[in-house]
C-alpha cells in the first residue's frame, strides 16, 4: 500500500517527472500520428493498386495470349474453384493513343486493356473510379448524355470544380460536330467537299470536329480568338490569327471525315455515312491524366473530354506483328488517383480489341486473351491460389501472380519505409526512456534516506523496488495516455492542422497536385496504437528497473546516515 501512496505522492510533488512524461507523450503522439498517416497512405495506395489489379492474375507470357479463355477458366475453377469468386478475361497490350488538341497531335504511350464490361466489375474496382455516376453503377461503352461529375470525388471543398466536364458527353460531341460543319461551310459556302479533301494524312484521325465554344450559332468563330485561346490553352499560338486558331480551345483544322477509310468498321452494317453528331465509335475509357494536367492551383485542365474521338495504335497478333490503328470515342475517364495508372491505362471493349488484333479464330469464333483476372472470396488466400495454379499450369507459358507480386517492389519499398520510420520514431520513445532513467537515478539519490527509513520500518527489497517501478509505470501510463489522446486529436484534425501550419510557414504542407488526394488519408489501427502504448509503458518500466534495483539494494544503515 505504501508503494502506491508514495508513488502517487512522488508523482504529484516531483515536477522533474513532468519532463519524462512530456517526452513520452510527444513520442507516443508522434508515433500515433505518423502511423495513422502512413497507414492511410499505404492503404489508399494499396486500394488503388488493388482496385485495378485483381487478386490473382493469370496471364500469358506472350502478347499473343492464349486461346479459349472459357476453357482456361474451367481449368482454373477445377484447380482452385473453392477460393474463387469471379473471373474475367482481359487483353493487355502496349499501345499508342493519339488525340488532337488545337493544331497538335498528342501521342501517349498507354497500357491498353480490353475488358469485358459484364464481368470486369466483379473482379476489380475499375468502375468505381469512373467519372459518370451511371457508369459507376453499370459500365456502358455508349457515350452518356452529359452528367459527368464536375466536382471531383473524394475531394475537399477547396478543390476547384472541373467545369470543362460540365458539357462532356453527347452535348460536347454534338457541338463539336456542328461547329465543324459551320466552319466547313464558312470556308466553302455551298460546296460539298469530296471525301479526303483537305486532309493531309487521311489515316490520322477522324477527330475532326472543331468546337464552337460560344455555341452553335456562331457563324464565323474568329470572334472569340483571344479570350478563349489565351486563357485556356497555353499551347496554341494566339498571336497568329489563322482561322484554325480562331475556332477556340479545342479547335481543329478543317478536316473532312473520311467515312470510307476511317469508319468502315463501325459503319459497315449501317450502310450510311458516319455522322459525328449522332454516331460514336467504340467506347474507350481513358486514364484521366492522359488527357489532362493539373496546374499549381490544383485546377485540372483537360485536353480531351468524353465525347471526343481518339486514335489507338496497337500491335496485332500476326507474324510479324503489325501496327493497327483504330478510332475510338472517349466515353469516360478513369481516375484512381494513382498517377501511374491514371496516366497509362486505357480501357476498351474486349471483343473489339480481340477482333482488331486478329485474336479471334474465324472458324470457331473463339478468341485469345492475354490474361484472366481472378477475384477471390478472401484475398488473403491469394498466395495459396497462386501456388495451386502454378502447380497445374506450365510456367513457361503462363505467368501466375498475385496483385502483391505484381506490385511487389513498390509495396515492399513502402513497407520498408514504414518500418524504418517506426524504428526511428521508437528511438524517440527510447530517448524518453533514457530521460526517465536519468531522472530516476536522481530521484533515488534524493530519496536515499527515505528508502533507509522505509527499510527500517520493515519494507522489503521488493517493496522498495516496486515504489520506483510503479512510479516509472505511472509516468509511462500518464505519458502514453496523454500522448495517445494528443495523437488521436491530431489525426482527427490533421487537415486543419496542415492548413494552419501552411498559413504560418507560407508553404503548403500537403500539396494536392502532387498526391492526387485532397485530404491527408489517415487510418488509426487499434493494434498499432496498442503496441505503441504498450511499448512506451514498457520502456518507462524498463528505465525505472535499474534505479529501483539500486534503491532496493541500499544498505539501510548507510541510507539513514546519508544526509
Amino acid at each position: 500500500m505504501f508503494k502506491l501512496l508514495l508513488c502517487w505522492r512522488y508523482l504529484r510533488t516531483r515536477y522533474i517527472a513532468l519532463a519524462s512524461i512530456i517526452s513520452v507523450t510527444l513520442g507516443v503522439a508522434t508515433m500515433v500520428v505518423v502511423n495513422a498517416v502512413m497507414a492511410g497512405f499505404t492503404t489508399e495506395m494499396q486500394d488503388r493498386i488493388h482496385g485495378i489489379l485483381s487478386d490473382v492474375v493469370f496471364e500469358s507470357r506472350s502478347l499473343e495470349g492464349f486461346h479459349d479463355p472459357q476453357w482456361h477458366m474451367r481449368q482454373i475453377d477445377r484447380v482452385a474453384g473453392q477460393y474463387i469468386k469471379a473471373m474475367t478475361a482481359t487483353v493487355n497490350v502496349p499501345a499508342m493513343l493519339r488525340f488532337r488538341y488545337g493544331d497538335n497531335w498528342m501521342t501517349h504511350p498507354v497500357q491498353l486493356i480490353g475488358i469485358d464490361a459484364a464481368t470486369a466489375g466483379d473482379v476489380a474496382d475499375v468502375t468505381k473510379y469512373l467519372q459518370h455516376p451511371d457508369n459507376r453503377q453499370h459500365l456502358s461503352w455508349d457515350l452518356r448524355d452529359g452528367g459527368f461529375d464536375v466536382l471531383p470525388r473524394e475531394a475537399s471543398a477547396e478543390m476547384p470544380p472541373r467545369s470543362q466536364l460540365q458539357d462532356a458527353g453527347w452535348p460536347r460531341r454534338r457541338r463539336r460536330a456542328e461547329q465543324e460543319q459551320a466552319f466547313r461551310e464558312s470556308l466553302t459556302p455551298g460546296r460539298v467537299e469530296p471525301p479526303g479533301f483537305d486532309m493531309p494524312r487521311a489515316e490520322d484521325s477522324f477527330a475532326t470536329n472543331p468546337q464552337l465554344l460560344s455555341g452553335p450559332n456562331q457563324g464565323t468563330p474568329s470572334t472569340d480568338v483571344a479570350s478563349t485561346v489565351s486563357s485556356e490553352d497555353p499551347n496554341s499560338n494566339a498571336a497568329e490569327p489563322s482561322p484554325v486558331d480562331a475556332v477556340g480551345e479545342d479547335s481543329l483544322p478543317s478536316e473532312e471525315v473520311n467515312p470510307f477509310e476511317r469508319a468502315d468498321m463501325a459503319l459497315q452494317d449501317q450502310g450510311e455515312l458516319f455522322d459525328p453528331a449522332r454516331d460514336q465509335f467504340d467506347g474507350l475509357i481513358m486514364g484521366i491524366a492522359i488527357a489532362s494536367f493539373r496546374s499549381g492551383d490544383g485546377r485540372d485542365h483537360f485536353l480531351a473530354l468524353p465525347g471526343d474521338d481518339v486514335q489507338l495504335t496497337f500491335p496485332t497478333v500476326g507474324t510479324p506483328p503489325k501496327a493497327e490503328s483504330m478510332p475510338f470515342t472517349v466515353v469516360d475517364f478513369y481516375e484512381s488517383k494513382m498517377s501511374e495508372y491514371d496516366a497509362s491505362f486505357v480501357f476498351v471493349p474486349l471483343e473489339v480489341l480481340q477482333r482488331a488484333r486478329g485474336m479471334i479464330d474465324p472458324t470457331t469464333g473463339i478468341g485469345n486473351v492475354t490474361s484472366i483476372q481472378i477475384k477471390l472470396k478472401d484475398d488473403r488466400d491469394a498466395a495459396v491460389v497462386r501456388d495451386l495454379l502454378r502447380a497445374s499450369f506450365p510456367e513457361q507459358i503462363y505467368g501466375i501472380n498475385t496483385w502483391r507480386d505484381k506490385q511487389g517492389p513498390l509495396l515492399a519499398a513502402v513497407q520498408l519505409e514504414n518500418r524504418i520510420l517506426n524504428v526511428l520514431l521508437f528511438m524517440i520513445i527510447a530517448v524518453a526512456g533514457f530521460g526517465i532513467l536519468a531522472i530516476f537515478f536522481m530521484i533515488v539519490v534524493e530519496k536515499t534516506r527515505d528508502v533507509g527509513v522505509l527499510k527500517s520500518l520493515g519494507a522489503s527489497k521488493q517493496g522498495v523496488m516496486s515504489i520506483f517501478i510503479s512510479y516509472g509505470m505511472s509516468l509511462g501510463l500518464v505519458g502514453a495516455g496523454v500522448g495517445l489522446g494528443l495523437g488521436l486529436l491530431i489525426v482527427a484534425y490533421i487537415n486543419e492542422i496542415a492548413v494552419l501550419i501552411g498559413s504560418f510557414t507560407g508553404h503548403q504542407v500537403f500539396d494536392p497536385s502532387i498526391y492526387y488526394f485532397f485530404t491527408i488519408p489517415t487510418i488509426v489501427d487499434p493494434r498499432t496504437v496498442t503496441w505503441i502504448v504498450v511499448g512506451a509503458v514498457s520502456i518507462a518500466i524498463a528505465a525505472s528497473v535499474l534505479p529501483a534495483r539500486r534503491a532496493a539494494r541500499m544498505n539501510p544503515v548507510e541510507a539513514l546516515r546519508y544526509e
Binding site: 505522492r9 512522488y10 510533488t13 527509513v453 522505509l454 520493515g458 544503515v557 539513514l560 544526509e563
Partner: protein, 263 residues
C-alpha cells in the same frame, strides 16, 4: 491491540502526568527470567577503502523485559552501530543476537523485515519522517508496509483510528494533516514515536532521540518515552551521549571503544 486498550484508558494521564518525580531516581527494574534482547560477542567493522575500522569488538549485553536501558558513550564508540545491529538493520561480522531467545542476526531478510515492522519500533535523531506524507500518513506507513493493498483498505478505518489515537497520545492531534516540514523538531520526533508505536512493538529502539532538539522538547520526548515504559511496560533502548538522559534510565551501559565498560 494491547497497547491501544492500555493507552486508551489513560490518555490524559500519559500525556500530562509529571513523570519526572518518578524518574528522578533510577527505578529498580525487575530482573526478568530471560532477556528480551541479548547480544553475545558482537563484532562489527567498517571498511573505508582497504582500511578496516573496527567499531564493535565483542559486545555482550542484554536488554531485559520492560526495562528502560540507556547506551552511552562518546561519538564513534559504536553505540549507534550496536543499536542498528540489535534492530536487525545491519548484520554483525561475528557474534549472536537473540530476541526473546530466538536468534535473529542470521535470519533471512524477509523475516528480519517482518521483525522490524512488527516487533521493533525505531526512532532516529533526525526523525526521518517521509516529507511527501502528512503526519497521519507517516504514522500509518508501518501499517501500510505490513498489509497488502486490499488488507489495508479493508482495515483502513481501524488503522486511522489507531494512528489518530497515538498522535493524540503524543500531543499532535492538531497536526494530523501537516507535512513534516511544517512541524517543529519536537513535534516531528513525537510523530516519529507515534509511527514507531503503530504496530505495537515489543521493543523501542531510539537513536539519540533528543540529539537534535532543544532542552525542553528533549525533556518532553524523554518524558513520553518514560511514560510508555511505565504505562505499557514497553522495553526501551535509548542511545545517548547525554548523561542527564542516561540518569533517567533504569540501567545504563557504557560503550568505550567498541566494548561494554562496567559503570
Amino acid at each position: 491491540m494491547n497497547s491501544r486498550s492500555l493507552l486508551a484508558e489513560h490518555p490524559v494521564q500519559v500525556a500530562k502526568d509529571g513523570v519526572s518525580s518518578t524518574l528522578s531516581e533510577p527505578r529498580e527494574s525487575p530482573l526478568s527470567a530471560c532477556a528480551r534482547l541479548r547480544a553475545a560477542g558482537i563484532e562489527k567493522s567498517y571498511h573505508k577503502g582497504n582500511v578496516e575500522i573496527p567499531v564493535l569488538r565483542g559486545v555482550d549485553m542484554e536488554v531485559r523485559h520492560g526495562e528502560f536501558l540507556a547506551i552511552v558513550g562518546q561519538s564513534g564508540s559504536g553505540k549507534s552501530t550496536l543499536l542498528h545491529l540489535l534492530g536487525t538493520l545491519d548484520v554483525p561480522d561475528a557474534g549472536e543476537i537473540y530476541f526473546d531467545e530466538r536468534r535473529i542476526d542470521r535470519l533471512p531478510s524477509r523475516q528480519r523485515d517482518a521483525l522490524r515492522n512488527q516487533d521493533f519500533g525505531m526512532i532516529f535523531q533526525f526523525y526521518h519522517l517521509l516529507p511527501e506524507l502528512s503526519t497521519l500518513e507517516n504514522v500509518l506507513v508501518p501499517a501500510m508496509i505490513s498489509s497488502s493493498v486490499w488488507g489495508y483498505l479493508v482495515r483502513r478505518r481501524q488503522y486511522t483510528e489507531q494512528a489518530k489515537h497515538l498522535l493524540d497520545l503524543v500531543g499532535l492531534s492538531h497536526r494530523l494533516r501537516h507535512r513534516p516540514r511544517e512541524l517543529s523538531g519536537g513535534e516531528m520526533q513525537r510523530a516519529a514515536i507515534a509511527r514507531a508505536l503503530i504496530s505495537g512493538p515489543k521493543v523501542l529502539l531510539a537513536d539519540e532521540p533528543t540529539g537534535n532538539l532543544d532542552r525542553s522538547s528533549g525533556h518532553e520526548v524523554i518524558r513520553l518515552l518514560r511514560n510508555l515504559n511505565v504505562q505499557q511496560s514497553l522495553t526501551i533502548v535509548i542511545v545517548t551521549h547525554d548523561d542527564e538522559i542516561a540518569r533517567q534510565a533504569d540501567r545504563t551501559v557504557q560503550l568505550v571503544e567498541g566494548r561494554i565498560e562496567p559503570k
